[in-house]
């Protein structure tokens, strides 16, 4: 019941938003729906999963709460953002190519539908429904990326649509192969697509199961941004409005990760966990390494954040691949990364609105021009790079320990990647914050734009100091549900 409401409310609100006139009314719909959504998600935390199409198990619950928290922060930011966006033509970053925005009502409507589709991803109890939901997230978010009617955002939107749709098509093929894998056993074909059947450990043919898992990882991995399937990610995350980038990095990537975790659950149930973990470890390490190298040569604030997302998705994949405590800490890291990365994207959006450029070469002295946002920018970087006492430190340390237990070389490679990424990001972040000022201070800052990232970072700090018992228990249950040892 609660789950159905969680999906229905944003859907209906989104459809209503399309017909509302642009203005403060339609903007205020965003935080209102987001608050209700978070409240319901919190209520659903202790509700046991039902037997139907929709239900929240411990993994679904965890990712739903992450999505909901990030969405609430982004929606509050979006109200100020939309108020301050000029109507009509506005100059491009470089000043040569003016562009206008899409309709505000459409933007708000798509944001709410995006929330609805992500909720459906978390609540799906059937693998094909999960597929439908993940594809729906692509379609709901494509118009969001093209909010600024600009050539570059159009290019990014096209790339996103095509690469993700094809990737997700392969995941559907993976679903069909799962049915094939079950066809020889007693569990009976298509029944295997019900997640509830997993607990009974269906008999699956290992040959087809492995192929199915690879297709699932390739399919959902495209959406999650695992290298070499990440090609759309830096473009899309950098060209989208920052509110959308925050949601893409903070919420959507996790939803795709959930899709892969479902595949992992199946493999673990059928005794193929070691194979699946090897695949995840490889993807994880390659993603981290490639992202770290690109971070070294980052020239653009939002592209840097996008590459950092690729790196952190690599950490999630690696943590799951390592098994043991790694699973728990990977799930904890998914939460921590979402909080910090969403905060940083929001701050990057404030910078973009003030300086009208994302190029590091043309930025500087943000901490003088925008004291609040500049401080949050540096704090976000400190949090994201795994400095104590922020929570990312704990989760990255946890993955490191899991790596040490498996093989010291794995742990060493992991550390090298983290250090390289740190160096690359530090250069950009510090130049932007502390370099020679490019704008005369002070610029007025609105609380609507400062509070959401501040709240997210405070949460990340709080989790680093104290994790509430219910969350700890939820994470433990979710890690157990993944089922790899």
């Amino acid at each position: 019941m609660l789950v159905a409401l969680l999906c229905l409310i944003p859907t209906l609100a989104g459809l209503v938003a399309f017909w509302l006139p642009p203005g403060p009314g339609v903007r205020r719909l965003l935080p209102a729906v987001a608050a209700v959504h978070l409240l319901l998600s919190a209520l659903a935390w202790s509700e046991p999963p039902g037997g139907g199409w929709l239900g929240l198990d411990s993994l679904g619950r965890l990712f739903l709460v992450i999505t909901s928290v990030v969405f609430l922060a982004a929606s509050v930011y979006a109200v100020s953002y939309l108020r301050e966006e000029p109507a009509g033509l506005q100059p491009d970053m470089g000043g040569e190519d003016p562009f206008s925005n899409a309709k505000e009502s459409v933007f708000v409507g798509c944001l709410l539908l995006f929330l609805a589709s992500m909720t459906l991803v978390c609540a799906s109890r059937h693998l094909t429904l999960l597929w439908v939901a993940i594809e729906a997230t692509t379609l709901a978010s494509a118009p969001l990326i093209y909010f600024h009617r600009h050539r570059r955002s159009l290019e990014a939107t096209w790339k996103y649509l095509l690469v993700c749709s094809v990737g997700i098509g392969l995941a559907l093929l993976g679903n069909f192969l799962l049915v094939l894998a079950a066809a020889g056993g007693t569990s009976g074909g298509a029944e295997v697509l019900w997640l509830d059947r997993l607990a009974q450990g269906p008999e699956l043919d290992p040959h087809w199961l492995r192929l199915a898992f690879i297709l699932l990882v390739v399919g959902y991995g495209t959406k999650m941004g695992l290298v070499p399937l990440h090609t759309w990610l830096p473009d899309t995350h950098s060209e989208a409005p920052s509110v959308v980038s925050a949601l893409l990095s903070g919420a959507l990537l996790n939803c795709a990760f959930l899709g892969i975790l479902r595949g992992l659950q199946i493999c673990a149930g059928a005794g193929q966990a070691p194979f699946a973990q090897q695949v995840m470890t490889d993807f994880g390490l390659v993603s981290m390494a490639v992202a770290a190298l690109f971070l070294l040569s980052a020239r653009d604030t939002k592209r840097m954040l996008a590459w950092s997302s690729v790196e952190h998705m690599g950490i999630l994949a690696l943590g799951i691949g390592l098994g043991g405590g790694g699973v728990f800490f990977a799930l904890f890291h998914a939460l921590n990364h979402s909080l910090c990365k969403a905060a940083m994207f929001l701050v990057a959006g404030t910078f973009l609105a003030t300086f009208r450029t994302r190029l590091v070469a043309r930025l500087g002295g943000a901490i003088h021009t925008l004291p609040v946002a500049g401080t949050l920018w540096v704090a976000g970087f400190v949090a994201l790079s795994g400095t104590p006492p922020f929570a990312v430190f704990l989760s990255e340390l946890g993955v490191l320990r899991a790596g040490l237990e498996v093989h010291p070389w794995l742990a060493a490679a992991y550390l090298v990647c983290l250090a390289t990424a740190f160096v690359g990001m530090a250069r950009v972040v510090l130049t932007v914050a502390l370099g020679p000022p490019v704008l005369a201070p002070p610029v007025r800052e609105s609380w609507g734009k400062s509070l959401p990232p501040l709240a997210l970072l405070l949460l990340a700090l709080l989790l680093g100091l104290w994790v509430p018992a219910w969350l700890l228990e939820g994470l433990r249950q979710a890690a157990a549900l993944v089922g790899v040892l």
């Binding site: 094909t128 439908v132 494509a142 093209y146 570059r152 649509l161 749709s165 098509g169 559907l172 094939l180």
Partner: protein, 214 residues
Amino acid sequence: MTGTIDFLLVSMILANLWVLGSSRLPSCIRAVAFQGVALGLLPFALYPGHITWDLVMLALVSITLKAVVFPHLLKRALLEARVDPQVEPFVGHGISVVVGVASLALSVALFRRHPLPIVPPSDLLMPVAVSTLLVGLFMLIARRKALTQALGYLVFENGIQAFGLGVLQHAPLMVELGILLDIFFAVFVMGITLFHIRRAFATLDTLEMAELRG
């Protein structure tokens, strides 16, 4: 029914070769629509004993979308954007057709070597499905225009759906409808995007869209 099944499957193969060999965009759109009709009729031929109202409705929706709505959408994008109707491939038409035939041979060989754990209703079904999927992927890579890439995506989805037909005799109706709905909106959003691409770039050539690097 084997005759009907084979007829429909051969139609799908012909559509693949048609779309690969055609040098005009409207003709490519027609080829993909034709393939959609063949795919939509396929369940009736494959499972004649299981014809239910659900199945009929689903087939009607599927055929309407693929043979009427999608071609209409894409043709409108083509007309309104006044795109030059030439295909302009990276890989020539002759070689493309050879690739299409080779993909079929490859798929047949693949299923010879790795027999399925189930008996599909037709020997040809799975190879045709995989070959169609590969042709779709090939079109995504080997064609320059954004419109042909959208067509490639449709062919790719046709292949996956044909594969699903061999594996799942009757998937839950809700799921099938969900998949169709997703594909519908994908093409819808792509159609709108195509229109904007033409307006912003004055061409549908994806080579022109190369600002985002690094």
